[in-house]
Symmetry: C2
Subunit: 151 residues, 2 copies
């Protein structure tokens, strides 16, 4: 899919035409949010092919930087994402997609969200300890992937 060329700053920032900017590696970050709850599930990367396939199929596709290939979310784990809405930021170099999980998880470690840990912190006091926000894995990643996976 060919995307519209970038126009003026005014067109990009306040216009009504998608004019996406992919970075020097051909990638754009994509925040993925639960459409129902607003929970941030993950941050992935899309290249033109991943965005196009997402638009054509309605299912989230990313570019796996670790595996250097198009990644149909859930292709191994079964934990896919049905896309409900696609938003873009002011300078059109970052996507936000709102999805429904077809399973109940998004994270390859087995948790619902990749952001399952919170830093123990208050202003001026940090001890680098991470507290778990989820108490149990939604699925068994070893059963899903066969071995620990990344990307």
């Amino acid at each position: 899919m060919n995307y519209p060329a970038r126009g003026s700053i005014a067109e990009i920032e306040e216009g009504t035409t998608l004019q996406p900017l992919f970075d020097g590696h051909g990638l754009m970050p994509c925040v993925t949010q639960d459409a129902a709850t607003g929970e941030v599930l993950m941050v992935g990367w899309m290249n033109r092919e991943a965005l196009t396939t997402t638009l054509e199929t309605g299912m989230a596709h990313y570019w796996s930087r670790a595996r250097q290939k198009l990644w149909a979310k859930g292709e191994q784990s079964g934990e896919a994402q049905r896309v409900k809405r696609i938003l873009i930021d002011d300078d059109q170099d970052c996507l936000l997609i709102q999805v429904e999980l077809t399973g109940g998880a998004s994270c390859h470690v087995g948790y619902r969200s990749c952001f399952f840990r919170e830093l123990q912190w208050r202003a001026g006091h940090t001890d680098f300890h991470l507290r778990y926000l989820e108490t149990a894995k939604v699925y068994d990643p070893v059963a899903a992937y066969g071995a620990p996976q990344h990307g």
Copy 2:
């Protein structure tokens, strides 16, 4: 601030110690979410200095890639972010911060969220038209910045 060194994959992904990974440019993406509503407000970038200053002050600081300098959010616009919670993802290369807006906006264009436009789309049908999700600017960016700003 010196951060703990990266350990094994198991320590990074399932451990309870912050072991952040900054990319080849010394940066890590940071998703910024409204602590009360879950709305995604922006995606910024933090280097070690920005993260340290955020931890020390409790106010969101980013690295401005456009200006190549530490960016105390709100330093020009007055639209600052008080940090309530800091989460990190499974492989510890992406941050999620939940904030309270000291004003009522986050976006340098003047809207509440940088993601103020939605793509007109359903699976297999895309016309590249963006629909506005916010109807009015929260503040006047020209008054705040003097001229259009980026970063």
